[in-house]
Structure formats: structure tokens, C-alpha cells
């Protein structure tokens, strides 16, 4: 599903440049539940941005769903994001003036689905994350855990190939963290590839594979107990 070979990325800082990713090789198969661990500055966010087509790499190769990602213009990237990727962010990133249902339906709008149909599909996904009764509420009327569930429903609504979650539990307390992780696990159990970035050991432990990053290189790549138990 995701194949990365010898990936490099630098950011210019004044005259110098900061070499953030120094040759990453990573292969994630369909249906995997992977977490990327690393302290801040390890390059994990940069990796997620590149995988999420929000940023471009300098060197190396990146295949998404078998397709080589190269020379993408913004429009193509937008279309690919819409088609293959679902995003879950630490700060939820719901649009404040739209209801939960409208937020979930937004990716379908950019897909070109008509309103009636997309609201129906969106409601199904809200139901799936247990928030059908909250469909007409605005984000500021929801708790943090509920917001993240809405965001997850939004990530899933286009039926993407990969769900990318950037510190999905970073803004949540322990109880809601568990419930959000349970939700991600359920999604994974249904066959979805889930790619989580976190710096919390407990969160990473709940995924099936942990890739540890330090200073732009992978230092370990192991299966978790949960995976071994299966």
C-alpha cells in the first residue's frame, strides 16, 4: 500500500538546510496498523506530510497504492488525497460553522457527490462512530472525544485506502484516548490500513507494528504484543 525507498527531505533554513529525513525505507502492506514513534524533531511529522501528499520529498521513491508519486501539481495531489487518504489530526480540525454531519460530508463534496447522497453516506459513518444523534450539532457543542470521532468519520467517509492519524489522542484524556484507539482498532479490523503518528508509548502499544524514528532514520521496526498475540 505504501512503499518508501531511500526517502530524503531537507528544509532550507537561511543559507543552510536542515536534513530532516535521511534515507527512510518503509513498506506498509494493506490492512496494517502501524505507529510511528519518535520524539519531536525526529522527522515523524515530515514523514506523515509526505505520505499524506501534503509535502513533497527531495529524493527517493514513494509509491502509494502502487502509483509512483512524482511531479505532482497541487490539483493532482488534491484529487489523490481525496481518493486514497483520510486524515485525522491532533486538533481535530473540524470546520467550526458546519454541523458534525456537514463536516463528515465535506470530502464527498470535493469528490463531486450530490448533496442528498453525501448526507446519507455521512450519516451512516456518523452512526458507525456512535454519533448519529449528534449529527446536527456544531463542533463546539461536542466533547474532545466526540470531535475526534467526527474527524474519524470524516476520514473514513470517502472509503480511502489509508487513514493517516497525526497524534490523534494528543489532545484527549486517558479514557477518551482509549475509546478513540478502540475505534481505530475496529476500523483496522475491518481491513483498513491505519497509519498513526504518536509519541505516547501506550498508544503505540495498541497498534500492531511500531516504527521508531530518531534523527531522520528508522532505528527499529517491531511487531507489538497485540500483533504477536493474534
Amino acid at each position: 500500500m505504501i512503499r518508501i525507498e531511500k526517502l530524503h527531505k531537507s528544509y532550507p533554513i537561511g543559507k543552510d538546510s536542515l536534513h530532516v529525513l535521511k534515507g527512510i525505507d518503509l513498506h506498509i502492506k494493506e490492512g496494517e496498523f502501524v505507529s510511528i514513534m519518535g520524539s519531536s524533531g525526529s522527522g515523524k511529522s515530515t514523514l506523515l506530510n509526505i505520505v499524506g501528499l501534503l509535502d513533497i520529498h527531495d529524493e527517493g521513491e514513494y509509491y502509494l497504492n502502487g502509483q509512483l508519486i512524482k511531479d505532482l501539481n497541487e490539483k493532482k495531489a488534491a484529487i489523490l488525497r481525496n481518493k486514497f487518504l483520510g486524515f485525522v489530526f491532533q486538533s481535530f480540525n473540524l470546520i467550526s460553522y458546519k454541523t458534525a454531519l456537514e463536516n463528515v460530508a465535506l470530502p464527498l463534496y470535493y469528490k463531486g457527490m450530490n448533496r442528498k447522497e453525501r448526507l446519507k453516506v455521512a450519516l451512516d459513518y456518523l452512526d458507525k462512530v456512535g454519533l448519529k444523534d449528534w449529527a446536527s450539532h456544531l463542533p463546539n457543542e461536542l466533547s474532545g472525544g466526540q470531535k475526534q470521532r467526527v474527524a474519524i468519520a470524516r476520514a473514513l467517509v470517502t472509503n480511502p485506502k489509508v487513514v493517516l492519524a497525526d497524534e490523534p489522542t494528543g489532545a484527549l484524556d486517558t479514557t477518551t484516548t482509549d475509546s478513540v484507539m478502540d475505534l481505530l482498532k475496529d476500523i483496522n479490523d475491518e481491513g483498513m490500513t491505519v497509519f498513526v503518528i504518536t509519541h505516547e508509548e501506550e498508544v503505540a502499544e495498541q497498534t500492531k507494528r511500531i516504527v521508531r524514528l530518531r534523527d531522520g532514520v528508522i532505528i527499529s521496526d517491531t511487531l507489538t504484543k497485540a500483533a504477536k498475540a493474534q
Binding site: N49, G52, L54, D55, E74, K75, A78, I79, R81, N82, K83, F87, F89, Q90, S91, N93, L94, I95, Y97, K98, L106, P107, Y109, Y110, K111, N114, R115, R154, T158, D166, E167, G170
Partner: protein, 410 residues
């Protein structure tokens, strides 16, 4: 362009951010309001100038004579000039193509009597076309016609106030009145926008007058309506030519203004035209300046708005919005706000103008100020263009927003 979902998105965004939208629309609304008022006032001034002459046809040209003030070809100063039928026929035949209406006019002053009521009135003996030159409005009956002229009929068309004087509220049409001793049949009653004096006169056929009073072929003046297809300049030139011709014909010194003059509405029209052109130029300058300020204002606010909505656009892009769709959305929002605000200004302006109405005519020479449908259509086009211009720069900025930066956890 017409994408119902896009409109829904825009309405939602405007509706959820009403204050912001109103603020950004305000400058444009104000600009258009100002523009409408200025334009309306200008057109009101124009209307006043036009109406100052408008009880007569706009294309009227009068050939009038008096006494010579310069000797010419051995003829003395102080000679009275007399126009005759031959002069009238000469002008109307010579310049047939340049003439729309033609009428001679003879002035008389007679006592007119009906039963016991009698009074002195100004009598004008004319041709049928005189009705159009003088803009005589028929209230009852008919005006003079060619048959009346041919048969030298003793028929009379009386003014509304003449009828009121002699008949009161009783019907006058078909009755006979005594004009200077002869009995005339009333065939019509007219009114005229030129005021009371223009309604206290009577019209009779020019041929009848010539036969009855002096048995000659004298006329007092020649009234023409130049061909309305002539440009103002061509009409002025035509007037000058008639003037030269007639002076030559009547042996008048070419520079003797008082012996023969041609009063040409085209000259007044040209003056008003130049005045209005200058006025509209000034107003166009002020108006478009205000509008440009409005556009810059709305554009500035939109840029600010885009900054405020950076995160939202970042989210949209992460979810699959293409740069094109972001640009389209922002521009469309800008066009919508501009157009709505502009129409608000336009409506308010039109309303104020219609409330003013004619109340300023006496003091400020502003009559019936208003904006024409053409202006409204023009304004619509300008508003949409303004919206496009105002929205484009902010939209470009919005499209350049990088999702990573917008979504960075803060």
C-alpha cells in the same frame, strides 16, 4: 459557475459570518449609494434644463423678424421686415428634407365673446403642424387640419382657460363664439404644459386669418421643426443657413441680428448637452474613484478574512479541495457580497432620489432626479467585475495556503 452546492457553501459561510460580510459589503454599498445619488442629481439638473424649454418641441426653430438696424444695399435703417406666404413656401420647399414640422404663425389680439361673457385673448393663426411644435395637448375634439386650411373654415381651437372663462363648467365643444365680429365653431379644447399663459390663447387656421383680417398674405413668423435625424451640429448649421438665406432674400444686412433672427433649440440643446457631459464626466470621476476605493476596501477585508480562515482552507485542501475550487469559492463569495451590497446601495439611492422627487426644483434646479435602467444594468456589470477584481487577490492567497502550515497543531 452555477453549482448549487458551491452556492450553498458560500451562503453558509456568509451566513455564519454575518458581521464580517456586512463590513466588507459596506464600502461598496456606500460607493454605489454615493454614485447613485450623484448621478441622480446630475440627471435631475439635466431634466430641469430640458424642461425649461420643454413645453415646446425639442427640435423647434423660429424665424422671427423686426426692424432693420443697419442700412443695406441702399435701403434705410428702421425698415420693418414683413414675412409673407412666399417666404414660408420658399423655406419649406427649399429645405424639405431637413424639416419635420412646419407652420406659419400670425399674432392677433381679439375680443372673444360667448353670450354675456367676453374677454380679450391672444389669437394665433397657424398650420396644423403647429400642434406638434407647440406640444399642444388636445383635451377634447380635434386640432386644425389641412381641410380647415384649404376651405378657410371659421373654426377655432380654444385653450383650457379660455373655455373656463367663457363657459365655466358647461360644455364648449360644438358651440359658436364671436371672434372680433365673426362667428367661429369650437372644434377643440387644448391644454399646454407651458403654463397658464399658453392656455389662455386660441388657434385658428392661418388662411382664415389672412382672408378675414386684411386680405393679405402676411405672416408674423415661421415655425419649423428640424428633422430629428440631424445631429445637433447639423441642426445648428441648418439654422444658420436658413438665417443667411432669408437675410439675402429679404435684403437684410448679413449681420443685422434684430431685423431677422433664427431661434434654434439645437443651440440650447447643445449647451445643455455640453453642460451635462461635463457634469457626468466629473461625477463619473468621483463615482469611479469611490468605487475603486470600495473595491480596494473589500479586497483588503477579504485578505484579512482569508487569514482568519487559513485553517479552514487548510482543512478543505487536506480533504481534497483543489486550488481552483478554493479560488472559485472566494471569488464567488466576493462577487456575491459586492453585488448584494451594491444593489443595496443602488436601491437605497433610488429610494432617496424618488423621495426627493421634485421638492428641490424651485431652489436647486433639480427636477425628477433618477437613474435610468441603462445605468442599473451598467452598475450590475461593474459590480460583478468589481467583485471579481476584489476577490481575485485574496483568492490567490487562499489557494496558496499550505495545508501543513495551516493545520500545524497550535
Amino acid at each position: 459557475m452555477f453549482d448549487l452546492d458551491r452556492w450553498r457553501e458560500i451562503f453558509q459561510s456568509i451566513n455564519k459570518n454575518r458581521l464580517r460580510s456586512v463590513m466588507s459589503g459596506f464600502t461598496v454599498a456606500f460607493a454605489i449609494l454615493l454614485f447613485t445619488l450623484l448621478f441622480g442629481v446630475a440627471s435631475g439638473l439635466g431634466n430641469f434644463f430640458k424642461s425649461a424649454f420643454s413645453d415646446d418641441a425639442q427640435n423647434m426653430m423660429l424665424v422671427r423678424v423686426w426692424k432693420t438696424t443697419k442700412p443695406y444695399k441702399g435701403l434705410q435703417t428702421g425698415r420693418a421686415i414683413q414675412l409673407k406666404n412666399t417666404d414660408y413656401n420658399y423655406v419649406t420647399e427649399e429645405y424639405e428634407d431637413q424639416i419635420q414640422y412646419q407652420s406659419a404663425r400670425i399674432y392677433k389680439n381679439f375680443s372673444i365673446k360667448y353670450k354675456n361673457e367676453a374677454s380679450s385673448y391672444s389669437v394665433r393663426a397657424v398650420h396644423p403642424d403647429h400642434q406638434f411644435l407647440e406640444k399642444t395637448l388636445m383635451d377634447e375634439g380635434r386640432y386644425l387640419n389641412n381641410r380647415d386650411l384649404r376651405e378657410k373654415s371659421k373654426v377655432i381651437v380654444i385653450g383650457r382657460l379660455v373655455k373656463k372663462d367663457l363657459f365655466g363648467e358647461k360644455p364648449a365643444l360644438g358651440k359658436r363664439v364671436n371672434v372680433n365680429g365673426s362667428s367661429f365653431l369650437i372644434i377643440g379644447i387644448f391644454s399646454d404644459e407651458g403654463g397658464d399663459n399658453e392656455e389662455r390663447i386660441v388657434y385658428i387656421p392661418v388662411t382664415t386669418a389672412q382672408m378675414m383680417y386684411g386680405n393679405n398674405d402676411y405672416i408674423s413668423q415661421i415655425n419649423l421643426g428640424y428633422n430629428p435625424n440631424l445631429s445637433t451640429d447639423a441642426a445648428i448649421a441648418f439654422g444658420k443657413k436658413v438665417e443667411r438665406d432669408m437675410r439675402k432674400r429679404l435684403n437684410i444686412h448679413p449681420d443685422d441680428q434684430s431685423a431677422l433672427s433664427v431661434r434654434n433649440m439645437a443651440e440650447a440643446n447643445k449647451f445643455v448637452g455640453i453642460l451635462m457631459f461635463a457634469l457626468y464626466l466629473i461625477i463619473g470621476f468621483i463615482g469611479s474613484g469611490t468605487l475603486v476605493a470600495g473595491i480596494i476596501g473589500i479586497s483588503n477585508i477579504m485578505i484579512f478574512v482569508i487569514k482568519e480562515r487559513t485553517k479552514e482552507f487548510g482543512i478543505r485542501k487536506a480533504l481534497g479541495a483543489t486550488p481552483g475550487s478554493i479560488i472559485g469559492m472566494v471569488v464567488q463569495e466576493s462577487v456575491l457580497i459586492t453585488t448584494l451590497a451594491g444593489y443595496f446601495g443602488l436601491t437605497l439611492g433610488t429610494y432617496i432620489l424618488s423621495a426627493i422627487g421634485n421638492s428641490l426644483e424651485e431652489t436647486y434646479f433639480i427636477k425628477d432626479p433618477s437613474v435610468s435602467p441603462g445605468i442599473v444594468i451598467g452598475a450590475t456589470v461593474i459590480l460583478i467585475l468589481s467583485g471579481l477584481i476584489a476577490g481575485y487577490v485574496p483568492a490567490k492567497r487562499a489557494a496558496r495556503i499550505k495545508p501543513i502550515e495551516a493545520l500545524r497543531a497550535d
